[in-house]
Symmetry: C2
Subunit: 201 residues, 2 copies
């Protein structure tokens, strides 16, 4: 319906915004008109920030987190304990755990979780890269910090079975996080407790 109501460029902007997660058609229209009403330069700065972020961002060659250098700041930090690797599903989960200031180890970002229903198998995640990190023998513990939901649990269990034969201790975040909840929305204290109370799986 909006095709007739707005010029094509505005319809297109609304449709583009409506593809973002959690943004419906009405919110997208609201955002679009807000963007069209911004002072000169500000909308362009928003567009440019998208292009810049995409262009300057790559994956850390070690932990697969998003970074603007070959290796991310955490992997470059000599003070981090590289014998412990915390495995998370998404880059935003790294930020969530870093905010607790409780964790001094390394990370590994899978970029997803196993999800047969969505056609996501082990080859679609950065599991190969994790295995090659463990080959060196430096890593003694892998903390599975995927979300405590069906897919997150299945991914943790799958990796635990894969890694245990390699002689590495595999642990899981303590269930301080409410079941079905999402890591990125947990408060710092809950996440810190979950880290401290982690147990072997």
């Amino acid at each position: 319906m909006s095709m007739k109501l707005y010029p094509p460029a505005i319809s297109n902007l609304i449709n583009q915004l409506a593809r973002l997660p959690g943004i419906g058609k009405k919110t997208a229209a609201r955002l679009a008109f807000y963007i069209l009403g911004l002072p000169a330069g500000e909308a362009e700065a928003l567009a440019q920030s998208i292009l810049d972020a995409r262009e300057s961002t790559c994956f850390c060659e070690r932990c697969q987190n998003l970074t603007d250098q070959p290796m991310c700041g955490i992997c470059r930090d000599a003070a981090r304990d590289v014998s412990v690797v915390c495995v998370v599903a998404e880059p935003r989960d790294v930020a969530a755990i870093e905010r607790t200031r409780e964790y001094k180890g390394a990370f590994h970002v899978l970029h997803g979780v196993l999800s047969p229903i969505n056609g996501v198998g082990p080859d679609d995640l950065r599991i190969r890269e994790l295995l090659s990190r463990l080959e060196g023998g430096t890593v003694t513990e892998v903390i599975m910090a995927t979300n405590p939901d069906t897919e997150g649990d299945a991914t943790a269990l799958y990796l635990a079975r894969l890694l245990r034969p390699m002689g590495v201790k595999v642990t899981r975040l303590a269930y301080g996080i409410p079941m079905g909840g999402h890591l990125e929305y947990a408060d710092e204290l809950t996440l810190a407790h979950a880290l401290t109370g982690r147990r072997e799986i």
Copy 2:
């Protein structure tokens, strides 16, 4: 805090997104990572849609609505009744009224409402343009369709006092719309009733 957690380009994207209305820091981070995870070309299409919409959009020389031509589609439509002008605060309100399919007249977009607290006076709205439209004598009725809140009511009243001496009938949308509510979120039926039951002010 996010300055340390993310590379500058990602922090910047999060900050830019967090400036949009109704988007908090956590939602902005979620959107940013979603954008960074999009397949090649899609994030660029989003950025481009912002630039295109800004570049191709101007104000209709008659009704001041957003358009990609000198005159908008509604003002160019010979079938519309130009003797009735519906005055709205924002372009999105035009779309809301058009969706009712009840209204066959013209529009005028003020681009705001009177708001002394925010420093918005009559000179900041497209009132001059409305007055010059009425000079021709073609317009017999002006429907004030600003939101039924303090500022919308004040704007309607101000314009009513300004226009009545010009011999034009000034009406207000019927209060089918709940007080304090916003036009763009009203359903089509409520808005249609509000149009039908409009009364002189």
